[in-house]
């Protein structure tokens, strides 16, 4: 593995904890507020808030004696809005708020708790449009609308309502619940800017419960790290409990940031990463990332045995095929350790169907190097040629200065990691949820449907813009990787060509084969005949003789 590719790999690991954000703010979070009712007045006594913090039943106007929240919207029959077509509604200016009976809120809540979010969403939205923002139940209505939308698989729409609750902070009882739900949503593809930066990155942390507060501190520390302010980040991270998962994640983020800053990583830094790779509070993925960081750093320091030990720390779920880049790095390490047969075995793994679409130009180069070292010149030449053959279209596109984002292989490679992957997944999520929204056109009613259609259109446009920006940069990096590999392969072809036609001197002897003990008494061998088993992917070994000749003096 070349040092530059290692650095690229390190950078990709770093991206996991410090994702690059889009140059501009996401529009996905700026959900247009439903217009307040023109003549609506605040009705503090209309809905009494219970001490438990649960939503207050909305009192009917006749009972409370107060004017209806949407009294000012008289004269606009509800049926009028429903007659409009969704397309027209999406383009038309915000509809005039309709008069809504406050009992609708109670009924919608009932529907939600009866497990009918589909029935609850439309009325909740209608109620929100009619009610003043100062209504005690306003935030609750937003919260339950968000929950209904999330239950229906419209997570982005739900998240945008939760984000509004967090930003407006109109009801302190709702905010912790909204933040908890938002925190859960961050495990899926989500709008980084809207949730991580605008909500958790900007929260006033004093009033938050411990768990949510810890997550917010962690996010705010990350934001500080991204802008290069480690001292401020440490202020946030210091407030995390030592035993919390966030503290371990924060430590990982700090280490990655320091790694990017230092030229020669210290032993202490490696030891810190090693400690994190065994930290049970971290997710398995994060522990694996830490182990990979150790392996890469040791490789850079030419400690190949140590690197191999670190690769063995990477734990995968049973029968999980693992990551192609991990195998390739291990193959390079074993090659450097003088274990060409084991290295060749791992390259066999990379031909498995699970990794067939992976973008690994180095694979062909390494295979050619191994064959060359074992003096199998024809296979070496063939392996080298395989790279230019397989990536012919991409290389042609680079030479012709075509738009690289249109190249399928480069695009797929760029989409497979880092910020581009996250952006791509978010776009896919929006597409999926956009389609899903169509299924609810009938039950949501025109107003909510057109509102959500507009929300998804705007969010998608912004997500695509962010994705395109990241993709353009990522494909350029992948093209660089490809070109470097292609260049080395050409050199290899030349070198092998010379060797192929080299004259064998008189008296030359074949080098005695190495004593290679592949099979120990404790092991069992399954001959490979082209059928890949996931439990064997790490175990392939190639039995191959060296054909090198020994020049006698």
């Amino acid at each position: 593995m070349t040092p530059r590719s290692l650095i690229a790999a390190l950078a990709s690991a770093a991206l996991v904890v410090s994702p690059a954000t889009a140059p501009a703010q996401s529009g996905g979070g700026s959900l247009p507020m439903p217009p307040p009712p023109s003549g609506a007045k605040a009705t503090p006594g209309a809905a009494a808030r219970p001490a438990t913090g649960s939503p207050a039943p909305a009192a009917k106007p006749a009972e409370s004696g107060a004017p209806a929240p949407a009294a000012g919207t008289e004269g606009a029959p509800a049926a009028a809005a429903s007659d409009k077509k969704p397309e027209a509604a999406a383009e038309a200016p915000p509809p005039v708020p309709q008069k809504v009976d406050p009992a609708i809120f109670d009924q919608a809540l009932q529907d939600y708790f009866d497990g009918k979010p589909r029935d609850a969403a439309g009325p909740l939205y209608a109620w929100l449009q009619a009610a003043p923002k100062t209504d005690d139940n306003y935030a609750w209505a937003q919260y339950f609308l968000a929950r209904s939308l999330i239950d229906l698989g419209l997570t982005h729409a739900g998240a945008s309502y939760l984000a509004r609750i967090a930003r407006e902070r109109s009801n302190p009882n709702v905010i912790p619940r909204a933040l908890d739900t938002l925190k859960e949503l961050t495990d899926r593809p989500h709008d980084d800017v809207m949730i991580d930066e605008q909500v958790f990155g900007a929260l006033d942390l004093g009033f938050l419960p411990e768990d949510t507060g810890a997550y917010a501190h962690y996010q705010q520390g990350l934001v500080d790290l991204r802008v290069g302010n480690e001292r401020w980040a440490n202020t946030h991270f210091a407030k995390l409990s030592e035993t919390s998962a966030e503290a371990s994640r924060a430590k990982f983020a700090l280490l990655v940031t320091r790694l990017k800053q230092v030229k020669e990583p210290s032993e202490e830094l490696i030891a810190d990463f090693l400690g994190l790779s065994k930290d049970e509070k971290l997710t398995r993925e994060a522990r694996n990332e830490a182990a990979l960081a150790v392996a890469r750093l040791r490789y850079e320091r030419l400690d190949y045995t140590g690197a191999l030990e670190a690769y063995n720390l990477v734990k995968l779920p049973e029968l999980d095929p693992g990551r192609a880049s991990l195998y390739l790095e291990e193959a390079w390490t074993r090659y450097k350790l003088g274990e060409p047969r084991a290295s060749l075995g791992i390259l066999t793994t990379l031909d498995a169907p699970s990794f067939r679409d992976e973008f690994l130009p180095d694979k062909y180069l390494l295979r050619a190097l191994i064959y060359r070292d074992l003096c199998h010149y024809l296979p070496a030449k063939r392996a080298a040629k395989e790279l230019t053959r397989r990536f012919a279209d991409s290389l042609e596109a680079v030479r012709n200065r075509d738009d690289l984002t249109q190249d399928l292989r480069l695009r797929r490679a760029a989409n497979s990691h880092g910020g581009t992957q996250r952006a791509s997944r978010f776009v896919e999520t929006l597409d999926l949820e956009g389609e899903r929204l169509g299924r609810y056109a009938g039950s949501f009613g025109d107003r909510l449907f057109s509102h959500l259609t507009k929300l998804y259109d705007l969010s998608r446009a912004e997500a695509v813009r962010v994705y395109d920006a990241r993709l353009a940069e990522a494909v350029r990096q992948e093209a660089d990787t490809l070109l470097r590999a292609a260049e080395q392969v050409r050199l290899m072809e030349y070198e092998v060509g010379l060797k192929l036609y080299e004259r064998v001197k008189k008296g030359a002897k074949i080098v005695a084969p190495e004593d290679e003990q592949l099979l120990t008494p404790d092991s069992v061998a399954f001959r490979f005949d082209g059928e890949y088993w996931n439990d064997e992917l790490k175990s392939y070994r190639v039995s191959i003789e060296s054909r090198c000749i020994e020049e006698t003096p």
Binding site: E318, L319, R341, L344, G345, T348, Y371, L374, H376, L378, P379, R382, L518, L519, P521, D522, S523, V524, A525, F526, R527, F528, W533, D535, E536, S539, Y540, R541, V542, S543, I544, E545
Partner: protein
């Protein structure tokens, strides 16, 4: 001579092709893994049937201890089987309708219990995919040894040769399940041999296996 040349002519393309293949794709690939399941001290508890005799069917309970010298070779040091015998309708009919004495020699051949010892050879160790979602490891073995059979008569100890085969499914490092199908060739008299096949299914507990 002409025929030899002709044969060589036909063989040449095949040989050339094999050589070209070896040149282009050198080496052989194997998946070499640490053997996941290894047996050491095995305690076996099983249940089974003696299905063959027309006059009775035996329901058996067995216990055995096996020491595994290696992954392929083991000694079933001792095994004991007790048979709870159920008379068949044929025997009942013979006794009821034809007054056949219960001491008739065929009736007295029923096995009460037996003890023995076997050598076990396990040449097959493999794995199979279960619904493409998990991998099940197994081994198949042959066993052979001697048995002392107590049959239902006074002074009823008889020697026997036990031969059979079995398959073991590994569930974990310490637990596996065995299916044994064996046949005891019992020397019942000077010139009389009876076959006592046994089908057994059981659980084997493994102790002291290395990780």
């Amino acid at each position: 001579m002409r025929y030899a040349l002709l044969i060589l002519l036909f063989l040449a393309p095949g040989l050339a092709r094999a050589q070209a293949e070896a040149l282009e794709n050198p080496g052989a690939v194997s998946a070499i893994q640490e053997r996941q399941y290894r047996m050491n001290h095995e305690l076996y508890l099983g249940v089974g049937v003696l299905p063959a005799d027309a006059f009775y069917k035996g329901l058996t309970g067995s216990v055995s201890y096996t020491y595994h010298f290696s992954d392929t070779f083991a000694w079933q040091v001792g095994r004991g089987t007790y048979s709870y015998n159920i008379q068949t309708s044929l025997r009942r009919q013979l006794e009821r309708d034809f007054d056949v004495a219960p001491t008739a020699s065929a009736f007295e051949d029923q096995v009460q219990w037996m003890v023995g010892s076997d050598l076990v050879w396990s040449p097959l160790y493999g794995k199979t995919a279960v619904l493409n979602s998990s991998v099940l490891h197994f081994e198949a073995f042959l066993l052979g040894g001697g048995t002392v059979v107590k049959i239902d008569r006074q002074d009823g100890f008889r020697p026997a040769i036990n031969l059979g085969l079995g398959v073991r499914m590994f569930s974990g490092k310490t637990l596996s399940f065995r299916l044994d199908v064996t046949n005891n060739v019992v020397f019942a008299g000077a010139s009389r041999i009876i076959n006592v096949p046994v089908v057994q299914l059981g659980t084997a507990f493994n102790f002291g296996a290395t990780e």
